[in-house]
């Protein structure tokens, strides 16, 4: 298998993600790690809560990785995404791509995170001292 897509309720293991995409044929591995930031638009964030429509999220992520294999000469692709409550600094998503040459790995990795943010049914709620908001819900 050249693709691994998983949703996790517990902490993501970045090193294990990198190890999984590594292969003797690879000349480069590109990794994107999305982490929980302590503020949004100058306002202090206490924590994030991620919710996923799990079967559809997996299905949409599979579509994205299939597009990646069709567009770039990449070898292995991994996407791990958290659900549940995340504290500041925790890892929310890991995307790892291996390829023979770096350009394909960079471009594919960026395509995956950019497309994930547009199409994959996962939602995050920012929790502040004085309230909470579902990100991107309102114009």
């Amino acid at each position: 298998m050249n693709t691994q897509i998983e949703l996790h309720t517990e902490a993501l293991n970045v090193q294990a993600c990198i190890d999984w995409v590594m292969s003797p044929e690879s000349g480069g591995i590109d990794v994107f790690i999305g982490t929980v930031r302590n503020a949004t638009q100058g306002k202090t964030v206490q924590r994030l809560e991620f919710e996923a429509y799990e079967p559809m999220a997996i299905s949409e992520l599979n579509k994205i990785t299939q597009q990646v294999f069709a567009q770039w000469p990449v070898q292995k692709v991994l996407v791990h995404h958290r659900t549940g409550v995340l504290q500041i600094g925790e890892v929310a998503v890991v995307i790892a791509v291996s390829a023979a040459h770096r350009a394909a790995a960079f471009e594919a990795c960026r395509y995956i995170i950019d497309t994930l943010k547009q199409t994959v049914p996962i939602w995050k709620k920012e929790v502040f001292d004085d309230g909470e908001v579902w990100v991107a819900a309102h114009p």
Partner: protein, 80 residues
């Protein structure tokens, strides 16, 4: 026709639960489901956008629905 509708993210707050039963009168399309829901839950119209998913696929407005479909309201996604 009565359909069951799953809700996620802010849609769960708007519906007051993670699933609701909706009685559809008139045609059985996604468009009719959306207008029925918007009448019952006007806050849906304040969202930046929202989609309907049927059996884990994004659906267009003309898609016919059946009582056996898994239907979900997908407010603007914000993963990553």
């Amino acid at each position: 026709m009565k359909v069951n509708v799953l809700a996620f993210g802010i849609a769960k707050d708007i519906f007051g639960g993670s699933s609701i039963a909706v009685e559809l009168t008139g045609d059985d399309t996604t468009a009719n489901l959306k207008s029925t829901l918007e009448t019952a839950y006007p806050r849906l119209k304040q969202l930046a956008s929202y989609m309907v998913a049927v059996n884990n696929e994004y659906a267009n407005d003309t898609l016919p629905l059946s009582e056996r479909d898994e239907i979900a309201i997908i407010p603007p996604v914000s993963g990553g």
